[in-house]
Amino acid sequence: MAEKKIIPCLDMKDGRVVKGVQFVNLRDAGDPVELAAFYEEQGADELVFLDIAATNEGRETMLDVVRKVAEQITIPFTVGGGIRTVEQMKAVIDAGADKVSIGTAAYDNPHLFKEGAEALGPDRIVAAIDAKFVDEAGTWRVVIHGGNTVTDKDVVEWAKEAAELGAGEILLTSMDRDGEKSGYDLEMTKAVVDAVDVPVIASGGAGTIDDFYAAFTKANAAGALAASVFHFKETSVKEVKAELKRRGIDLK
C-alpha cells in the first residue's frame, strides 16, 4: 500500500511562518524556506504552505516564497490560501508547487474544483475543508473565511462533492482542535475517509505521537498534518516517524 505521510504545515503571513490556536493568537514560527529545508532533512513526506492572510500584496510575497522553496527542496509541497481563480492556481504551480489547495473560493464556486482539475489535472487539486462540530446540528459543519463563517453544509457531504467535482485529495482540518494539541478529530476524519474515494489528510489537533498513530489506525487517514508540535519543537518529524515505524505503521 501507499505509505502513510507525515506532513508539517506552514501557516504563512507576510512571508513568515506563524501559528495560532483555533485560527487566532498567532505566534511567529520562523522563515518558511529555512523551515522547509529543515523539515525535509527531518524526513517529512510532504509540506503544506497556507497563506492565511492572503491579501493581494501578500500573494506576490507568497509566490516568491514558493519559488525559493521549490529551489530548496525535492519533496512535494502544496500551497493554498486565498486562491480564487484558475489563473492563480496556475501561477502557484508554475512557481514550483506540486499541488494547490482550494478552500473558501470553492465553497462559493464549486466548479473551481472542476476547472482546476481540467486545467492542471486532478492530482494537483486539494480540497481544503475546515470544519467544526455544531452542537445544535449534532454534526460537523463546513467553516469558511479562515474560521469566521460557519455554514449549514455538512462536512461529509461537502467532501463527497469536492471529490466528485475533481479534487484529488482532501485536507480536512478540525477547527475545534486547531493548535489545541488534544488529538485529531478521529470521528470526523473517519466519517470523511469512509465517504470518499480520494485520500484524506487529517489536520488539527496533533499533540503527541499517539495522535498520529490514531489518525492512521483509527481514522485510516492517508496522511497526518501538524504545525504547532513541530514548529515549537515539542517533538520532531524524525522522532514521530521513528516511533510510528516501531509500532508498525508503513512510512517512508
Binding site: M1, A2, E3, K4, K5, E40, E41, G43, D45, E46, A70, E71, T74, I75, P76, K90, I93, D94, G96, D98, L120, G121, P122, D123, R124, G168, E169, D197, V198, P199, A222, G223, K252
Partner: protein
C-alpha cells in the same frame, strides 16, 4: 543535451532543476523542429491522456517521438509520459503511441485514487537505470491509472497498491517510470 518535451501542461520546473543539478544541460522542446542537438529525451506527463495525446498530435510531436525512439535515442517517459507509450489508455478511451504493447487501466473501485505518496519499487529485473539504487527504494507516486504491458519481459519494476502493478517498464532504449524520479526522499 537532454531534451524535455513540453506540450504546454506546465511545470517542468522540478524535472529541469533535477537534471541541471546532476550536471547536464537541458533543452525544453515544444515543437518537432526543436529536437535537433538532443541525445536523450525525457517525456514528463501532466494532465489526462486524451487531452495530452490530442495536443502532441496537433503539434506533430507524436511522429517526432516515434522517430527518435526508432533511431535509438535514449527515452524516458515519466508518469503520464510512461502511460502514453502503451497502445491504448482507458483514460478518455485514448489511442496512444504504441511503443509498448498493452493498455493503461484504472485502479479498481474501492481503492483510494489517486495513489498519491511514497511507495516502494521492487526491482524484478536487472537494468542499468537501477545502478546505485537499492531494491525496494521509495519513490513518489501520483496517479489513478497504471500500465498493463502485454509482454512480461517489458516489466522491470513492480509496486504494490492494493495489488502489484507495473511501475517501471523498459525495452531497448525506452524506459518508463510511473513515479516522479525528481522527487527524492530524505533521509534514505
Amino acid at each position: 543535451m537532454i531534451g524535455i518535451i513540453d506540450y504546454g501542461a506546465g511545470n517542468l520546473h522540478s524535472i529541469e532543476k533535477a537534471i541541471k543539478k546532476l550536471g547536464f544541460t537541458t533543452k525544453i522542446m515544444s515543437k518537432p523542429d526543436e529536437f535537433h542537438g538532443i541525445n536523450k529525451i525525457i517525456f514528463p506527463g501532466v494532465g489526462n491522456a486524451g487531452k495530452t495525446m490530442q495536443i502532441i498530435k496537433k503539434l506533430g510531436m507524436d511522429k517526432q517521438i516515434k522517430k527518435c525512439i526508432t533511431e535509438g535515442v535514449p527515452f524516458l517517459g515519466i508518469c503520464l509520459g510512461m502511460q502514453l507509450l502503451l497502445e491504448f489508455s482507458k483514460e478518455n478511451e485514448t489511442d496512444c503511441l504504441s511503443i509498448f504493447e498493452g493498455t493503461v487501466i484504472p485502479f479498481h473501485q474501492g481503492v483510494k485514487v489517486p495513489h498519491m505518496g511514497w511507495n516502494e519499487v521492487q526491482q524484478i529485473m536487472k537494468h542499468p537505470i537501477y545502478k546505485g539504487i537499492p531494491d525496494r527504494c521509495d519513490f513518489y507516486f501520483v496517479h489513478s491509472f497504471y500500465v498493463q504491458p502485454l509482454h512480461e519481459s517489458d516489466v522491470i519494476g513492480l509496486t504494490n497498491y492494493s495489488h502489484d502493478f507495473c511501475s517501471v517498464i523498459a525495452r531497448d532504449n525506452v524506459i518508463g517510470v510511473q513515479f516522479h524520479p525528481e522527487k527524492v526522499p530524505k533521509p534514505d
